[in-house]
């Protein structure tokens, strides 16, 4: 299967030329080159660092919002509306606004990532909190568990899977979004280097970095999120 795809790719690259569709060999050489020069780590690291701040901040903010929503009915309504508004706002809106607010700096991709992933994680968490089994909470009342005991023994464990699911989707989104935002005003990161490669007509490097992105996404999914979910669900 893979061999057929590569063969087809190679044939098409012969037909259209290296600028439109670089050959598999050229892409492989490009990949070897960025590994040899260490560029792969520099740019992937820069992107991941921005994601860590933007997406990490979004997770923290979402947890805070969900907590408040759990405690107050009023906040629950506000969070619900906020999530709806944020969810329907385009990535580009945040990129433009963040450039106006923060100039051409690291904060533009960080802020964009934050604003895009916040509603995804928050809506999952709020849904998780809302779906806590009332019958288990009533059991807690019968046995006179304190509010804190009910929170740690019942609310947190039933919400955690929703948090992990939200983070999994959120992280994928964070990677895609921050890379777009990196086209503007920063001089490192996968998005920057892809756009730069395009400008110097090195199309094969655009493909190489796209593959790096796919690799990062697959690895974090398999290594981080799947492992965490398995650990959380070990009672199943």
């Amino acid at each position: 299967m893979a061999a057929v795809v590569v063969a087809g790719w190679w044939l098409l690259s012969l037909r259209y030329g290296a600028y439109v569709l670089p050959s598999p060999g050229a892409v492989a050489r490009g990949a070897a080159e960025i590994v040899a020069t260490g560029e792969i780590w520099r740019h992937t690291g820069a992107s991941l660092a921005r994601i860590a701040v933007g997406f990490g901040g979004a997770v923290l903010a979402a947890v805070l919002l969900a907590l408040l929503a759990f405690l107050s009915r009023l906040v629950r309504g506000v969070v619900h509306d906020l999530v709806a508004v944020l969810n329907s706002t385009s990535v580009f809106v945040w990129i433009v606004i963040s450039i106006i607010w923060f100039g051409l700096s690291n904060w533009a991709p960080i802020f964009t990532t934050f604003m895009i992933t916040l509603p995804v994680v928050a809506s999952n968490l709020v849904e998780g909190v809302a779906s806590v089994d009332r019958r288990l909470l009533e059991m807690g009342d019968v046995y006179r568990l304190s509010g804190r005991q009910k929170f740690t023994a019942i609310v947190v464990p039933s919400t955690l899977p929703y948090l992990v699911a939200g983070m999994k989707i959120g992280f994928g989104l964070a990677l895609k979004v921050s890379v777009v935002a990196e086209i503007f005003g920063v001089t490192s990161g996968i998005g920057y280097v892809m756009n730069y490669s395009r400008e110097i007509l090195a199309t094969q490097m655009v493909f190489v970095w796209a593959l790096v992105m796919i690799g990062v996404m697959t690895l974090t999914d398999k290594l981080v999120f799947d492992m965490v979910s398995r650990r959380l669900m070990r009672w199943r």
């Binding site: 019958r135 009533e138 059991m139 046995y143 006179r144 568990l145 005991q149």
Partner: protein
């Protein structure tokens, strides 16, 4: 522990429970019987302080039970579902309800093991609820209710979800545990054979709105087969009355 239910009634949109009165002596095993939908579960929840009554009072050892207020008598409840936390082992599930008593963790775990052993779950302490059978989960729920050493144990059709064989086994177990621990038990069921097999007092409720139709001492003076026959006749009459009782009947 003495429980008095006097003139308890409950209205939702329509009156569900008209007025029910009975008393339960310490160490008694009372079965609440009645047609489906006559308010047995609601009555049990009122006794447990999980729901307010529209009228009447529930008195535990001289003090009234008030909805959402602490009572100084301990009440354990076994629900129709096991209501175990799926992410905690059976041992942790039982130990959890001992935390409000503020004893050290090791003691809580030891108590949990003791009660799990009592209900026949020795060796399964480290299992998660999802890994054991429905009957075993319901046993764990009973162990949890017993672990707080309740003055009153309320059971709401705890074996409803079990197959006939497991049901029989669990009835014998509950009877044995009752004898062994001497707890006062109020047990809701709609299965007459079950009530006659395990209860010392049988209270038959009428169709909705519920009243006490009959209270019978099950002390072996009346022959079992005859008692079951009589109760069956009664329940069929009440079921018919309920079905004829308007648009919400049946």
């Amino acid at each position: 522990m003495k429980l008095e239910v006097s003139g308890v009634g409950k209205d939702y949109l329509i009156p569900v429970i008209d007025s029910v009165s009975f008393a339960v002596e310490p160490g008694e095993f009372l079965c609440l019987l009645g047609p489906n939908g006559c308010g047995k579960t609601t009555l049990l929840r009122i006794i447990g302080g999980l729901e307010p009554a529209t009228r009447g009072r529930v008195i535990l050892d001289g003090r009234p039970v008030v909805f959402e207020q602490w009572h100084d008598r301990k009440v354990g409840v076994v629900f129709q579902e096991d209501r175990l936390l799926p992410w905690q082992t059976l041992r942790d599930n039982v130990a959890l309800v001992l935390t409000p008593f503020g004893r050290p963790a090791a003691e809580r775990l030891a108590t949990a093991d003791r009660y799990l052993n009592l209900v026949g779950l020795g060796g399964f302490e480290d299992y998660y609820p999802g890994r054991v059978s429905g009957g075993m989960r319901q046993r764990a729920a009973i162990a949890r209710a017993l672990a707080i050493e309740p003055d009153l144990l309320l059971m709401d059709e705890p074996f409803g979800a079990l197959d006939a064989q497991n049901r029989r086994i669990m009835q014998n177990e509950v009877r044995r545990i009752w004898r062994q621990t001497g707890r006062t038990i109020v047990f809701v069921t709609h299965a007459i054979e079950e009530a006659v097999a395990i209860g010392t007092t049988l209270v038959m409720l009428s169709a909705r709105p519920a009243r006490v139709r009959e209270a019978i001492r099950n002390d072996g003076r009346v022959e079992r087969a005859k008692l079951i026959d009589d109760l069956n006749t009664m329940i069929m009459e009440e079921v018919e009355r309920q079905q004829g009782g308007g648009p919400l009947g049946g």
